[in-house]
């Protein structure tokens, strides 16, 4: 039983939301001068938005780039909060840490090993580095980084660590399950913990106040309660919250292992000129170098000078992106000159990720919801039915026509169409299984329209065969000679269609890309079918008496084809 259903499922493609029902939000970037944003910033925006959507716990949500736009698809219905969530601005801000505590209260007391988390970014805390440990932080910051002046030993930039690493990760994200994704941010463990022991006993005890013993001066009283209630182990921990730079903020660390009370923003992300990940040549560990623009450099110099001598955790400067603390390094010294270096327990991946976030998170990439489409499952089913019906009807009409017109040869065109249809269907299923392809209405239309293109290849070939027959060649010879000439025509004509498909695909918005993809795919399949199936089949059939003798029903009746005037009807030479 299960085997059968599994098999059935294996042969049914995944449907897009316009057919299956669901919500699709298209976000278009708004740039100050109307130019299109850089590819990297878009890629990063996709990552950030994907994190946000996944952070809400919606399953099967999909966030992809389509040209300059970002398309978020959520199966199921009425995801108003998703619509709200995905379009907000991502802006990086630097804020001084006023207080810090582990994610949940049960882990508050121990001074070391803050959480059981073992994500690379936060893991090596059991042996905090000398620099970080000098701060004698009672609740060791999970992001145990420290910030220092960019030393002379310039970090050697590794051969493009950013691109390859990030791409790899992205691929992984797309293909593997969401688990992989969440593990990246260390959410996995925390989620697990949260469900396994939802209420760890010590946590409810007011005695273990996370703020016990902390210096609360200068903190807005209203934030204290918020801070106490904040549970960073939840998957929804305030990602995507638009923070007001002029107000203090309560926020979680990105991996969900710590929570912070942060002061007003002192430096804005727009003041970050650049950030790179590299290896420190003296220590051999991964570091992130940050360069500030002139105003940012002044602000940064001032704030680092002010807080470096303060007791922990007030000597930490948090970088907040999208309502989440991505790093909160301890300031080692006043850092003038706008060049800083963040060090401490980085892996290549975490260093690159932080550098990217500093660099691109700094871009105030604003998005506009340019289209929201919420398709009910009944409407989706209707459209699917309509599309399939139209496709079936189209095929049948073409089959009838070619049988009437080409008679015996019609068998070739019908079976070729059948082969093309099967190959197309299998490709769609394979693509949907392995490449996340979702069949949508524009795809179906593209596939139907391509029936004509596929059929035309046969028509070109058959007409050439008839030309050769009229010229008095034997069928076997005609089949070969005609192929030589038809081949070129088919290739040139298909090339034109393919160019059209490629141009449409890369410059397309919305459904156009899907349509173009279907058209390009079928053009390729058409060439394969004509070369590998139609031509060999015609060659084989040419050996059959029925065709070779030019039976009236074969469609290759030389007499009928050539007859001009019964009086001068040439004697069939080879028949």
């Amino acid at each position: 039983m299960t085997g059968v259903t599994a098999l059935q499922q294996a042969f049914i493609p995944q449907y897009g939301l316009d057919l299956a029902g669901g919500t699709t939000v298209t976000l278009s970037p708004i740039t100050p001068n109307g130019t299109s944003p850089s590819q990297e910033s878009l890629d990063l925006a996709v990552n950030i938005i994907r994190d946000r959507v996944n952070g809400t716990g919606i399953s099967d949500a999909e966030t992809v780039r389509a040209g300059d736009n970002i398309v978020v698809s959520v199966p199921g219905k009425g995801q108003e909060e998703v619509i709200q969530l995905v379009g907000t601005t991502a802006e990086l801000r630097f804020r001084q840490v006023l207080a810090v505590a582990p994610a949940k209260m049960d882990a508050a007391v121990p001074t070391d090993a803050p959480t059981p988390s073992s994500t690379p970014a936060a893991s090596s805390s059991p042996s905090p580095e000398p620099r970080a440990s000098t701060s004698a932080n009672p609740t060791v910051s999970p992001a145990s980084h420290s910030l220092s002046r960019k030393g002379d030993p310039e970090p050697s930039a590794t051969p493009s660590p950013g691109a390859t690493d990030r791409d790899k990760r992205e691929d992984g994200r797309k293909q593997k399950s969401q688990r992989q994704d969440t593990d990246d941010d260390g959410e996995g463990e925390n989620d697990g913990k949260a469900t396994a022991s939802p209420t760890p006993t010590p946590s409810s005890d007011p005695a273990t106040d996370p703020l016990a013993g902390a210096d609360l001066t200068g903190i807005e009283p209203s934030l204290l309660d918020e801070f106490r209630e904040l549970d960073c182990t939840k998957s929804d921990r305030g990602q995507g919250v638009q923070d007001d730079p002029d107000k203090q903020l309560v926020a979680c660390s990105q991996d969900g292992t710590a929570r912070y009370i942060l002061d007003k923003a002192v430096v804005k992300g727009t003041e970050v000129a650049g950030a790179t990940a590299g290896v420190d040549q003296t220590t051999g560990e991964w570091v992130v170098s940050v360069d500030f623009k002139s105003e940012g450099a002044t602000q940064f110099s001032r704030i680092t000078g002010q807080i470096t001598s303060l007791p922990a955790p007030r000597n930490q400067l948090a970088m907040v992106l999208d309502g989440v603390v991505i790093s909160a390094p301890t300031i080692q010294e006043a850092i003038p000159g706008g060049k800083a270096r963040i060090s401490g327990s980085f892996t290549q991946e975490s260093a690159t990720r932080l550098a990217d976030q500093l660099k691109y998170g700094a871009l105030p990439l604003k998005f506009e919801r340019s289209s929201v489409e919420e398709v009910s499952s009944t409407l989706g089913a209707d459209q699917l039915r309509g599309g399939l019906l139209a496709g079936g009807l189209g095929l049948i009409v073409v089959v009838i026509y070619s049988m009437l017109y080409y008679r015996g040869l019609g068998v070739v065109s019908v079976s070729s169409l059948a082969v093309a249809t099967i190959v197309t269907y299998l490709s769609v299923v394979l693509l949907s299984e392995n490449a996340g392809f979702r069949l949508s209405l524009p795809h179906i239309v593209g596939l139907i329209v391509s029936i004509g293109i596929t059929a035309d290849s046969f028509i070109v070939y058959f007409e050439r065969i008839r030309d050769e027959l009229r010229a008095g060649r034997t069928l076997r010879l005609a089949v070969e000679l005609a192929w030589r000439r038809a081949k070129r025509t088919i290739l040139v004509a298909d090339a034109v269609t393919f160019i059209a498909a490629v141009v449409l695909y890369f410059l397309a918005v919305g459904g156009v890309a899907g349509f173009a993809f279907a058209m390009g795919l079928t053009t390729l399949i058409d060439i394969a079918v004509v070369f590998l199936f139609t031509k060999p089949m015609v060659t084989l059939l040419a050996r059959l008496r029925f065709f070779a003798k030019g039976h009236p029903l074969s469609g290759l009746d030389a007499g009928r084809l050539r007859r001009t005037d019964p009086a001068v009807r040439p004697t069939p030479q080879e028949a």
């Binding site: 919801r369 340019s370 929201v372 073409v398 040139v492």
Partner: protein, 363 residues
């Protein structure tokens, strides 16, 4: 046998001999008239842009019991006056409103659901920002330009620049006339329509490419033989591929017609209908243009080449000489019955060599 069957029979046998190229002036005149009409339509009436271009919200749902008045009232009750209600297929309803804020959309959605006994999730919504259509059309225009440049480059390499130019002119011709049809009929223009327009490009060219391929083949050794002008050879090639062109168009239009049929009857307004309508109109115009615009234009361009000017002269001289000789021969054998072959040849030369005539010579 009726004339029509006869024509079909000749088409089937590839013997048609329509003088497409010789009637250049007629086609050019017709096309220019159509183009002027199309431009007039575009300027006077303009295109009827759908909500995807103007921005707004669309609510779709199914209800067997609803009437247009009920649906309109249900939306009016929420305080929105600017409402277009359409029936979409059997039981389907489509309500288009102006742009409204997020909360309002949910409110209208809920109101419609309550009124017709549905759950909120049964009412589909589509919200389009005002800039979306602009973005779509901007991309479409860029796509169009890139595509034309790519095609001109490709055809210039695969064939020659004159063919590329003729094909692209025919393409623009098709697009303008299709747009004109939309302007005059007032069909709604949606992104799906644009998609259809862009697809027409592929078709229009595909057809022209097949015809040009044949012309290229037929005219390859033309200057050397000196028996036919370029015009005649091109016309022959056109006729030889005529049945293919018609077949292709028919085979291409059949599936599109079936989408149009299903899209109109079953689903009503929507992607399927918009797309197939544009394709349907465009394909018909495209077939006309590849026969009556692209090839005549190519011939006009080619006949200006020195080698073909010279060829035309030589052919004319040769024909004159031939005619004289034949007249003399006829006069000589005044009463002798001629064989069918000769008679047909004379007719052929008089009308300009047909496709069959050219083939016979090649053989």
């Amino acid at each position: 046998m009726s004339g029509a069957t006869n024509l079909l029979g000749r088409l089937y046998r590839g013997e048609s001999n329509v003088d497409f190229v010789g009637r250049q002036k007629l086609w050019y005149g017709l096309s220019i008239t159509l183009l002027v009409l199309s431009f007039a339509g575009l300027f006077v009436r303009g295109l009827n842009f759908g909500v995807e271009f103007t921005g707004g919200s669309v609510f779709s749902f199914k209800s067997a019991s609803a009437s247009i008045e009920q649906v309109r009232d249900a939306v009016h009750d929420t305080g929105h006056e600017q409402v277009i209600v359409q029936q979409a297929g059997e039981d389907g309803w489509r309500v288009t409103t102006e742009t409204m804020p997020e909360g309002e959309i949910t409110r209208v959605q809920r109101a419609l659901a309550e009124r017709f006994g549905l759950t909120q999730n049964d009412v589909s919504i589509q919200v389009i920002g005002a800039s979306w259509g602009g973005q779509v059309s901007e991309k479409a225009v860029i796509g169009l330009i890139v595509f034309m440049v790519a095609i001109i480059a490709y055809l210039s390499v695969a064939f020659e620049w004159r063919m590329a130019l003729a094909a692209v002119v025919a393409l623009v011709h098709d697009l303008v006339i299709t747009a004109g049809v939309y302007a005059w009929t007032g069909f709604e223009v949606t992104p799906a329509t644009l998609l259809g327009f862009l697809t027409i490009l592929g078709y229009s060219l595909y057809d022209a490419v097949v015809v040009f391929d044949m012309i290229k083949e037929v005219t390859a050794r033309l200057p050397a033989t000196g028996k036919m002008t370029y015009t005649e050879a091109a016309n022959g090639a056109l006729n030889a591929t005529l049945i293919r062109s018609l077949n292709t168009t028919l085979v291409a239009i059949l599936p599109v017609a079936s989408i149009l049929f299903i899209g109109t009857t079953l689903l009503g307004a929507g992607t399927l209908k918009d797309l197939s309508l544009a394709l349907f109109v465009g394909m018909i115009v495209g077939t006309y243009s590849s026969l009556c615009v692209a090839t005549p234009l190519l011939v006009t361009l080619k006949e200006r080449e020195p080698q073909y000017v010279a060829l035309a002269k030589r052919v004319a001289q040769r024909r004159q000489a031939q005619a004289k000789a034949e007249a003399a021969a006829k006069a000589g054998k005044a009463s002798g019955g001629t064989g069918g072959g000769t008679a047909r040849q004379t007719v052929g030369a008089g009308r300009g060599p047909s496709a069959t005539a050219s083939k016979r010579r090649k053989r």
